[in-house]
């Protein structure tokens, strides 16, 4: 869908922003450009819609060389989400979203109608449409920014550190929202960030850039984490990259057995065989510790976390309805984690609940967030005192309740 061929960009002051970049981004799927500042990731992104023109080399979008197209028309055909939203302060939210449709000559009525649909799609109430951007919170503005980029239904979406300016909780919500939208729309997204966790969370593929505009490695998150090309990439991924890898691996293959009859802790179930709490044996007044049951689609990282938090060292496993299917021991989870690390990108776990398949064959479809369709029943089993707030996805990727 988007191809870079030997692309160089040198700025007039002599700095090389992008050095010999060749990269092929398939249709559908999220490619994340990641790297520290000055690595050329944003320049590379901006060359796709000709906000910057390359010094040499060719960029094609949908097979057509961007330099042979009218820049303004090209930009209208590509969605662009700018840092900190960049909304027009003098236009209402609805008119902001309608920007590109109006430029395309849809007419005010049709453009507004499309904008209204988009507003709903990004999770904002219709009355927000009449407000001005400064009347919205940062997170809401960012949603409007995404809606504006999607208004004319472009096949390609460019996102330049879109969630950099919002607080971590809102950022997580926006990331979830983007993954949900992407499941519905399956756009070809290029996403720039300096946050490796965001990259792992959102990317089907991650392109790591090094200062001087060199692309060091482009691979699926799992492969990147398991087999970083060099020390630079390894450093960039950070010391916890093993744990990050576990966040991409599903629990499904980990051995499970029946809940033990003996031992100091008993797993209390309700009438529907849903886990309620861990209770200390030995008569009334035994201590109780909350249980956080996990589904097959939850990650090994959250299982590891739960195995540490659980007093018995056992993790309660449930099906999509929250009914107990068995328990997994700390050591089984630990060895599965070790195996997952050994196998790295070769992980065979598939998206178990029929989520949208990853669009490219090389991308392992472990329990990436887009593989776990939201299932409110399973995310907040009734009557359980979950450590995570009920509205947060309980897949260990919410950033809360996990180390």
């Amino acid at each position: 869908m988007i191809q870079f061929e030997a692309v160089h960009k040198r700025f007039p002051n002599g700095t090389t922003a992008v050095h010999d970049l060749s990269l092929d981004m398939p249709e559908g799927g999220v490619t994340v450009f990641v790297g520290s500042s000055g690595c050329g990731k944003t320049t590379s992104l901006r060359m796709i819609n000709r906000m910057v023109d390359p010094t040499s080399g060719t960029i094609r979008v949908g097979g057509r060389n961007v330099l042979e197209q009218d820049a303004a028309e090209l930009r209208r055909s590509i969605g662009y989400v700018i840092q900190q939203a960049g909304l027009f302060p003098h236009r209402t939210v609805l008119d902001n979203i309608a920007t590109v449709p109006l430029l395309l000559g849809w007419g005010r009525k049709k453009a507004r109608a499309a904008a209204g649909d988009l507003l709903e799609r990004v999770g904002l109430a219709p009355e927000m449409g009449r407000r001005y951007p400064h009347q919205l919170s940062g997170g809401q503005q960012q949603r409007v920014g995404v809606a504006r980029a999607l208004a004319a239904d472009p096949p390609v979406l460019l996102m330049d550190e879109p969630f950099g300016a919002v607080d971590p909780v809102v950022r997580t919500q926006l990331q979830d929202e983007l993954l949900r939208l992407q499941r519905e729309l399956n756009k070809t997204i290029v996403f720039v960030t300096h946050d490796i966790d965001e990259a792992v969370r959102l990317g089907d593929r991650i392109a790591v850039f090094r200062t001087g505009g060199h692309l060091v490695q482009c691979a699926s998150p799992a492969e990147l984490l398991a087999r970083p090309a060099d020390d630079f990439v390894a450093d960039f991924l950070g010391a916890e990259r093993g744990l990050k890898l576990l966040s991409l691996t599903a629990l499904v293959d980990v051995k499970q057995g029946a809940a033990p009859d003996g031992g100091p802790w008993e797993l209390v179930l309700d009438g529907a065989r849903k886990p309620v709490v861990w209770r200390e044996r030995g008569g009334a007044g035994g201590a109780e510790v909350p249980v956080r049951p996990l589904r097959d689609t939850d990650s090994l990282l959250s299982a590891l976390n739960e195995s540490i938090a659980s007093p018995s060292g056992l993790v309660a496993r449930v099906d999509a309805e929250g009914v107990l299917t068995g328990v997994s021991s700390r050591s089984d989870i630990h060895s599965a984690a070790g195996d997952a690390h050994l196998r790295g990108a070769g992980n065979g776990a598939t998206s178990p609940d029929g989520g949208a398949p990853a669009p490219e064959p090389s991308a392992p479809t472990a329990a990436t967030p887009r593989g776990s369709a939201p299932d409110p029943a399973a995310q907040s089993p009734q009557g359980l005192d979950l450590p995570a707030p009920a509205d947060a996805p309980a897949d260990g990727k919410s950033g809360r309740g996990v180390a």
């Binding site: 819609n49 906000m51 303004a72 028309e73 090209l74 930009r75 209208r76 055909s77 662009y80 700018i82 840092q83 900190q84 960049g86 909304l87 027009f88 302060p89 003098h90 236009r91 209402t92 920007t99 590109v100 430029l103 407000r131 001005y132 951007p133 400064h134 009347q135 504006r148």
Partner: protein, 216 residues
């Protein structure tokens, strides 16, 4: 030496004519000033080297005493309304040019960037994004230029025009204060009303600023 209400009553028609003529001269000058300074300001905003030259030139023009301007214009346009309007227009240019340039400068880079990235062409960006967002600063200039022109019209009395300014010469020559006081009061009222109207116009033109309770 008391105020002569009878004079006011008997000269009502003259006063109305002078007031209209006064306002016409001032507003024509402001409109012409806007027409000239808008393209110049866009030029000064886009072409950096021109900026200093244009702003400097308008400053130099401003330092010429107003009477001198009218005298210098006499060989060109004579003792006419045209001379008055040209003279006033020159003075409005300083304020309008500077404020329009500053207004355009005040438009956030990010917003212009967003317009470009959405596929808006430069002219449309100027008309639908930059000028609307520059409007508050431009309007501040228009208000100053309007009030300034209304007070300056009187100077044109020396070339036989001057609207309400004629009341001053009339009063001084006859040592009769009533027309002077009436002239001052009417000029003040004109300026205040014009300014209030412009504030209203600005509010109508910038609905997004009305809801502003906190800086975004």
């Amino acid at each position: 030496m008391s105020f002569d209400w009878e004079w006011v009553g008997s000269h009502r028609d003259d006063l109305a004519t002078l007031t209209v003529s006064h306002l016409q001269a001032a507003l024509t000058a402001v409109l012409l000033g806007l027409l000239i300074s808008l393209p110049l300001a866009v030029l000064a905003h886009r072409v950096r080297p021109l900026r200093g030259f244009l702003l400097g030139l308008s400053n130099v023009l401003f330092t010429i005493p107003s009477i001198a301007v009218f005298v210098l214009l006499l060989p060109v346009s004579g003792l006419t309304r045209t001379t008055t309007v040209i003279g006033l227009t020159i003075y409005t240019l300083v304020v309008l040019l500077r404020n329009t340039v500053e207004g355009l400068d005040s438009v956030p880079q990010k917003t212009k960037e967003a317009a470009k990235a959405m596929g808006t062409r430069p002219l449309r960006t100027l008309l639908t994004v930059e000028l609307p967002l520059a409007l508050p600063v431009i309007m501040a200039g228009v208000r100053i230029a309007t009030v300034m022109s209304i007070s300056l019209v009187s100077v044109a009395t020396y070339i036989g025009d001057g609207g309400l300014g004629q009341l001053f010469t009339d009063g001084f020559q006859r040592n009769f204060p009533t027309p002077v006081i009436v002239g001052v009061v009417l000029t003040l009222l004109l300026a205040l009303v014009a300014d209030a109207l412009l504030v209203g116009v600005q509010r109508l033109l910038t609905p997004w600023a009305r809801t502003r309770t906190r800086k975004a």
